[in-house]
Amino acid sequence: MNRRTFIKVPLALPFAAAAADADAADDGPPPVAVQIDFTSHLPAPGTFPARWICGSPSCMDNQDPPVQVHWYNEHTVFMRQNKAYSYEAPFMHLYFGNERILMLDQGFTTLRTDWPLRDVVDDCIAKWCARHGRRPEDMELLMAFSHLHSDHYAALAQFTDRPNTRYMGLTHEEMVGFWGMTGYPEERVTLDLGGRNILIWGSPGHVISEFAYYDTYTQILFTGDMFYQGRCYITYWDKWFDSMKRLMDFVDTHPVTHVVGCHVEISRTGEDYPYGVTYQPDEAPMQLTVADLRHAFEVAKTITKPGIYFTGAVFLCNQTRGTTTIDKNPYAYV
């Protein structure tokens, strides 16, 4: 097979062939998709792991999986990148609907040979489809991310040849256009995954282009890097404060079970893990509460100057340079 014949092969062929083999082996009818009800008995219950993988004292001796996969419930997956694969250790989400799947964030390592996110996601989708009578190639995968920082989209490249997959562009205009927004950041749009609605609106402040996502099924609010268990690097204070007001309005009118962000950079005792560290043995949980969010807003109201402010749950790094921490030289002496 030379290059020309390879190009002629339809992109979906490997999948179709695999499916045909599977059908032939089963010798039965194609699976019947049972419609899942995502609108009753809300919020859908779910659990977070007692402990996320959080690096190791020696990176090259890390024995944890490259991606930790946690099924929050039957239709929701949270994943975390191993700290020995990337110090940012971002979290990634998979929301399954009757017709399509939404993936939020794609981690901080580009190459599939370095970090097989694509294989892990394909495996999750295959398992979910097998359990719910669907074929993976029938489910559209939407690849979106919270904002335009490479620790949230680097592994997007692993999915570019995936059939039936659409992904956000890497500009503000493409991102806004992907969700069909005309009134960023105030406009709130609804994404229908097939019976499961995701509400999306603008949440700038950390960067200009950032989105907040709210899943109506689990009622989890995803605030990206704008508000998370760690150092919220606030580049544009006014925009961030407006985004917080929007979040306040939202939690006043919608039930929210958890507020989740992209990273954890803080210990259970409130210790700040410095930027870039690859071992966080006593990590705080990833999920925050609405009370944490409200309290941070109250603290934010009192902030008038640049600096680092601790709310008890998060550090608000108001216009300090990115990667700034509260670390000091431990060997200083008088």
Binding site: P57, S58, C59, M60, S150, N329
Partner: protein
Amino acid sequence: MPQSPPNLATTQFLDSTGQGTGNNGAPDQPYNPPGAKHTDSCLPLHATGEVVHNYATAEPAPGTIAFRWIHGSNVAALNRDPRIQAVQYNEDTCILRQNVCVNWQAPFTYLLLGNKGALLIDTGATAEPAYYPLRETVDRVIARWAKMRRRQQVPLTIAMTSGENRAQNQGLAQFAGRPDTVIATRPRAGMTGQIDLGDRIIDVIPTPGAHKDGITFYDRYNDILHTGDLLYPGKINIGNDRDYVASLERLKQWRDTHSVKWVLGGHIEMEYSPGKAYPRFATYKPYERLLQMTPDLIDDALASARQVAGKQTMLIRPDFILMNGVSPDERTRVFPAGVPNIASPRPY
């Protein structure tokens, strides 16, 4: 009639009886190019007893860092480099580097060998032998050297450029219970001294500033200053600026009165592009600056240290960065004039 090979063992080498020319190696042999200096080898072909090396040299002993340092990998978990890279600078000097993916500080430790013993300068940043087998590596280097030199016993002295430095004192625990081993006591302020390895003298210069108990070692054989955290190509966190300036003045004076070939510090954090440093905790440093600093950089360091003294600031220089009274994460937009500002790629 074929020419018989020269009998190197009897004419050119010192043996245990102390007989010989006083030079190591065979510089006068016709196979050497004109002007060749001694070859630094004191190995007789057929040694009968302990080989005694002559460490008295007019110029710095020959030696080179002939390899690129291991520098981690993009994905630290997949790194399969050796945990310790051992580079032989010359027959009597070994430079060990910790793998960046075991500890991001990737400290350098130095093993110096003399006729009556060995000196290990610094002990690395990781205590667990499974991750960082320092003692095993040191033992093997010494055993190999002892076999070459026909030595039964090589007493080991361990000294540190700073006892409080967690990037250099962690491996010390591995040597607990090692026979024939001495851990050098912490010198008091103002104390100078010498460590005699057997015809190879290591001078001890107190140089607080980065650390309160900072020490610099001067190796009279290689003419190298081992400065630890005081001066190295990286972000130097100054613990006390008065002490730091005073220590650099002491080093400058030392350089002016002694031959200094290189200054070797404890880490590399600078990139090959001048004035650029890898961030803290980086586990992949593909474009590192060289380890060795030329002695004229002491002038630059001293002038820069005087500039930052008394101020809470950081100062970027082409070969190092001084951080005085600021967070290790401090950043600045001030870049030295006349230095090309090159941003190297950051793979992820």
